[in-house]
Point group: C2
C-alpha cells in the first residue's frame, strides 16, 4: 500500500514535469510568433502565462519535499526525486526565456524587432526550441535513451543557427544599426539557452536510467 502510494506520487511528479515542459514549449513557440508577427496581444498572453509555470514549479518542489519526508526513498527512487527538482528548475528557466522573447516583442511594438534577413533564422530557432522541448518531454515520459541522445544531436543545429546569427551581425554589410544588433544578440542567446535547458533535461534522464553521463555514452557508441 505504502509502495503503491509512493509510485503514484512519483508518477504525479513526472506528470507535472511533462506539463511544465508542454507549457514552456508552447510558450517559446507563441513568443516566436508574437515576435515575428508583431502581435502584442499574443506577447502579453505569453508574459502572463509564465506565472502558471512558476506555480507548477513551486508545487513540484513542495510535492518532492513531501515525498522525501513521507516516503524516505533511497537509491534510484531518491535520485529520481532529486533529479526531478533539477529538471523543474531547468523548465522554470525556459519559461523565463520564453517570457524574455515575448517582452522584446512588446518593447519594440509596433516596430519589428527582427530585420527581414534574419526572420527565417529566428523562426527556425523558435521552432527548433519548441521541438527540442517536445522531445525532452517525451524523454521524461518514456525514458527512451535513444530519444535523449537525439535531443543532444538536434541541438547541434541550434548552435549552428546561433553562429549564423553572429556571422550576420559581424558582417560589414550589417545595416540595421546597433539597437537591432543588441536585440538580435539577446534573442539569439535566449533561444540557445532554452535549447541548452532542454538538452539538460534529456541528459538528466539518461543519467538516471543508465548511471552514465551522456559524453561517456556517446564515446562508447559506434558513430
Amino acid at each position: 500500500m505504502m509502495r503503491k502510494a509512493y509510485q503514484e506520487e512519483l508518477a504525479s511528479i513526472g506528470d507535472r514535469l511533462v506539463e511544465m515542459a508542454n507549457l514552456v514549449g508552447s510558450a517559446i513557440g507563441r513568443a516566436t510568433t508574437a515576435l515575428l508577427d508583431t502581435d502584442l496581444e499574443l506577447a502579453e498572453s505569453v508574459i502572463a502565462a509564465d506565472a502558471k509555470v512558476d506555480d507548477l514549479q513551486r508545487d513540484l518542489e513542495n510535492q518532492a519535499i513531501a515525498v522525501l519526508a513521507r516516503q524516505q526513498p533511497v537509491a534510484t527512487d531518491l535520485r529520481i526525486v532529486v533529479t526531478s527538482l533539477r529538471m523543474s528548475a531547468d523548465l522554470e528557466r525556459c519559461g523565463d526565456l520564453a517570457e524574455h522573447v515575448a517582452k522584446l516583442a512588446r518593447m519594440r511594438y509596433p516596430e519589428q524587432a527582427i530585420p527581414r534577413d534574419l526572420r527565417r533564422t529566428i523562426l527556425e530557432m523558435g521552432q527548433l526550441a519548441q521541438r527540442l522541448m517536445a522531445q525532452a518531454a517525451e524523454v521524461v515520459l518514456t525514458q527512451d535513451i535513444d530519444a535523449a541522445l537525439q535531443v543532444e544531436k538536434d541541438d547541434d543545429r541550434m548552435d549552428e543557427l546561433h553562429r549564423m546569427i553572429f556571422q550576420h551581425l559581424m558582417d560589414d554589410r550589417w545595416q540595421h544599426g546597433v539597437e537591432t544588433a543588441v536585440d538580435v544578440t539577446l534573442v539569439g542567446r535566449y533561444y540557445e539557452r532554452f535549447a541548452d535547458h532542454a538538452v539538460s533535461v534529456a541528459r538528466r534522464v539518461v543519467y538516471l536510467v543508465t548511471g552514465e553521463r551522456v559524453d561517456e555514452l556517446i564515446t562508447d557508441r559506434p558513430a
Copy 2:
C-alpha cells in the same frame, strides 16, 4: 550520535556551498581583470578553474543525496538539504558566467573587448558582482536576514549599471561598431545574471530561516 553525524554532514554541505561561492566570486573578479587588462594568461586560468566548481557541485549533490538516504531528514532539515542543492546549481551557473567573461577576453585578445568609455561601468559591474557573491556567502554562513536583504538592495545598482550600458549602446553617438556592441551586450548580461544568482542564494536562505519569501518581508517592513 546519529544526530551528531547528521549535524556534521549538514555543516559540511554548508562549507562546500561557501567554498563554491568563494571560488566563483574570485572567478568573476579575475575574469573582469582579464577582460579589462587583456590578460590572456589570467583569462586561461579562470577558464581552467571552472572545472573545480563543477566538481564541487557534483560532490555536493552526491553528498546531499547521501544525507537524504542515510539520515532521512524531515521538516526544516529536509528543506535545508533540498535548498542547498538549488543553491549549488545557482553557484555552478555563476562559475559558467565568469568563464564566459574570461572566454570573451580570450577571444578578443590582444584587442580590448571593452571600449574606453565603458571600462569604468564594466569594472564596477565586475566588482559589484564579486561583492554580491561575498555577501551571499556570508549569508549562507551566518543566516543573517538583514544581510540577505542588503544583497537584494545592492543588486539594484547592478540593474542600474545594466541600464546605463543599454543607454550607451542605444546612443546615436555609439562609434564602436556592431561587434563591440554585441560583446558589450553579452558581457553586460553575464554580470547581471551572475548578480541574479547571488540574490537568489540569499533569498533561499531567507526563505529557509523565516519561511517567508523576500517580497513579503520587504512589504511587511517599515522602509
